[in-house]
Every structure is written in structure tokens, then in C-alpha cells.
Symmetry: C2
Subunit: 227 residues, 2 copies
DNA sequence: TCACGCCGTATTGTCGACAATCGGAGTATT
DNA sequence: AATACTCCGATTGTCGACAATACGGCGTGA
């Protein structure tokens, strides 16, 4: 439900999905050149659908195309991620404010239950951050849905969502920010229950700022190791 | 400079550009079915590049594709536009806040000069709203550039930008909101000069809210006429 | 030794033809 | 007369081959 699996539909759609998955999980490295013939071969299809898929991914900013020179996997450097988190703060803050007035009581309750499952998972297997990370994204996406703003949902869902997942796969292997993050999530749900949009937005913005600080530090460390 | 004219590059890029233009100007009606063979014929190219162009436009939300049933021009109904302006308020507000600290004095001065030319145009030809409208978009885009946030620029520039233009062509024929809008622009520039990001954001958000109210009323009138 | 230009190869861009699927007209049946 | 079924035309989806372009190695000359 989180990641839709259109193993149906046109081959171009399938290719786009599989490519996105490969890029997000790091199976295809950042900056790596994407050879059309090779990928088409691997996916068992012609180059036509694959080219359409690449156009699609270009729109999602997962690949960068240069005319007559092929497509490469996007590179998530520090500046790109900083920009992403900035935009995310604005959009998710907005989503949260709207959700406070638009979500049904039941939906908010569901959100709370999601956090319960989430907490359970953390307790049971503190190490496996991956599933937790996906769960976190699910939380954010549910709030985006709660905004009832289709454009916002599309932006947070289809585009930024994938870039974020990509970022997570790259950094969150050892991220131990799960507990404070969970608390912040709880606070947000509480604000939603009280229908306090202003507070909900503020909390979400702080939550994302915190996430960015965490990621940023991690990048610093990584850069020092590399250097 | 405002609308890049890539009559160069791949045919798919050319097709995407020409299609976008046709859609934005209303030459292709909203909801109209887009026949691949016919369009390919008209543009003097095969269906391959045209399909890639459609995939591109789908990413820009200018067309909606349904597998095995073709692509149709998007329809800008009231809800869609409301969502668009909501997102715009958040993003452009953010852009304005960042621009207040990121733009150089020279860039801000340029922005002022842009408004001068703008005012001149209004005085000389009060009627021709079209050019003014494009000028308005230019103003907003310059601020987006001033934010130094590449992702924000892309979002406001390539995607929303086209939808907005489309909306303008549809409604602003008789919009007489140019003078208050110009004043608001001036206020914004002033706030930027004072490096007051908070104020700049506030003014921009109000400006966009005002624009939406104006558009909204116009849609109301249109709906009454149709009904 | 380095710079420059040439050429072969690999890769991208494009086209035309074929297969798969959808929508609708027409007909038969109740 | 209404409904469901079938078939046909039109349109989309896909593939393979060809043309155009860019990249890299090689040789030549200063």
C-alpha cells in the first residue's frame, strides 16, 4: 500500500517503477550512467518503453538527462538535500495545518494506531531501522492525504517521497533518532486531535528541521571519513 | 528569456515545448483527447518522440494519461486551482523569505526596475493584460531564483508556472487587478530591500491569496453564466 | 612530450511496421 | 423496446532496424 506495485499496465510504467526502486535502494549508484540497451535487456523489453520510463523518472528528479549523452542517476549532494528538506518543511507544514481541520476523527485515530505499531516495532527490533524508516514515511504520507489537497499529495507522494527514501537508504542505516522522532510524531497527532492546525504545523516544521540536522551531521561525518 | 524556446535538442523536447504552449494558450481545449498519430503528423515527427513528450507533460501535470486510453489535456476545475494556489502560497512565501536574505542588492534593484517597466506598460496600454500577466509571472520567477533553492526554482518554474499560465489565459482576459497587484509587488520589493524576510513572506502570501480570491470570483461568474 | 585532429565504435535519437487493446456500431435475442 | 453479444475500426503499446551524434583511442606533427 505504501509503495504501489504496478506490475501491470504498460511496460513503461513497470520499467519506471523498477528503475525507481533500484535507484532508491542504491542498487544503482548515484551518478551512474544508465545505458538504455542494457537496461532494456535486463527488464526484457524494447528501448521504447524504457525511454519513456526515463522521461518519467526525469520528471521525478531521480535521473538527470542530457540530450545525446544519456541519463545518469541523480546525485544527492549536501546542497540538494538541504534544498529538499527546506521545501519539505514548507509543504509538510502546510499539509499538517490543513490536516488538522480536514482529517476525520477516525483518520486521526488510525494515525495514532500507526504510531502504536511503530513503537512496537522499535521495541521488538531496535536495530532494523529500515522498516521503521518506511513506517515513518507512511506517517508523513497519511498526513499529506489528510490535507485533502491533491496537488500537495502528489508532490509529497510521488516526487519528494522517492528522493527522501533514497536519502534514507543512504544515511539512515545507523540513524538512532527513532525515539525522539516517535515522540514528535505523537505530539503532532495530539495537536491534530485538538484541531490545532497552527501548533501542528509548528511541530511538523520542527520535526523536519530536526531530521535535517540529524542527516546533516551524518553527512559531515561521512565527508570527514572520505577525506 | 521567460519562456525558453528549445527549438533545438531532441524532437521530444521540441514536441513537449510546442504541446505545452498549445495547451497553455488554450489552442488545445481542456479535457481534449490527444491523438498521438495526429499530433505526430502535425509536428512532422514519428510517434516515438511524441510519446516521450506526453510522458514529460504528464509529469508537469499538463496532461493526464490513462493506460490504453490515451492522454487528455488536464481540466483546471475549481478544486484543482484552489489546491494549486494553496501550494503556491506556501512555496512562494518560502521563496520570498529566503530571497530576502539571499538576493544581492543588485538583483533586488533589478526587480524594482522590472516593476517600473511593468508600470509603464500598464499606463501605455491598460487593455493588453496578456503581456502584463507574463510580466507578473516573471516577477514571481525572479524571486524564486532569488531563493537560491534549486528545488524550489524547479517546482515554481517548470511545473506550477505552466499551470498558472494556463489559468491566466483562461481567466485574466478581463482581470483588472493589475494596479493593486503592482502595489503589492512594490511592497514586497521594499521588504526585500529591508531584508525583512518575515514581512516579505507575509506580503507574498497575502498577494497570492488576493489573486486567488480574484480568480475564484471570476470562476463563480463564469459558472453562473454557463448555468 | 604534448597538443591536435582523425577515425572507429558505442550509444542515443528516430522511424516505420506489427501486435494488443479499447470503444462503438450493428445485430440478435428476450 | 431494451439488453447483451459480437465484430470491426481506430488507437495505443511495443519492437526491431536505421541514422545521427558523442566518446575514446590512435597516429601525426610540432
Amino acid at each position: 500500500m505504501l509503495v504501489k506495485v504496478p506490475e501491470q499496465g504498460t511496460l513503461a510504467d513497470v520499467a519506471a517503477h523498477r528503475l525507481a526502486q533500484s535507484i532508491v535502494t542504491g542498487e544503482l549508484e548515484q551518478g551512474q550512467k544508465l545505458n538504455e540497451a542494457e537496461l532494456a535487456e535486463r527488464f526484457g523489453m524494447g528501448r521504447g518503453p524504457l525511454r519513456e520510463a526515463l522521461r518519467h523518472l526525469e520528471g521525478m528528479r531521480l535521473v538527470k538527462r542530457i540530450p545525446n549523452a544519456g541519463a545518469r542517476v541523480v546525485v544527492l549532494d549536501r546542497k540538494t538535500l538541504a534544498d529538499l528538506y527546506g521545501v519539505r518543511e514548507a509543504l509538510e507544514g502546510m499539509a499538517c495545518r490543513l490536516a488538522a481541520s480536514q482529517m476525520t476523527d477516525d483518520e486521526i485515530a488510525q494515525l495514532g494506531k500507526l504510531l502504536d505499531r511503530h513503537e512496537e516495532q522499535i521495541r521488538k527490533q531496535g536495530g532494523k531501522v529500515y522498516a521503521q524508516s518506511e513506517g515513518d514515511l507512511d506517517f508523513h504520507f497519511q498526513i499529506a492525504r489528510g490535507s485533502r489537497n491533491q496537488m500537495l499529495m502528489d508532490m509529497l507522494g510521488s516526487e519528494q517521497y522517492q528522493l527522501l527514501r533514497m536519502c534514507r537508504y543512504r544515511t539512515s542505516r545507523n540513524a538512532q533518532r527513532t525515539k525522539p522522532a516517535l515522540n514528535q510524531h505523537r505530539q503532532i497527532v495530539q495537536a491534530l486531535q485538538q484541531r490545532d492546525g497552527e501548533l501542528a504545523e509548528l511541530l511538523m516544521r520542527r520535526h523536519i528541521q530536526g531530521a535535517w540536522r540529524s542527516i546533516s551531521e551524518m553527512i559531515d561525518k561521512e565527508e570527514k571519513e572520505t577525506a
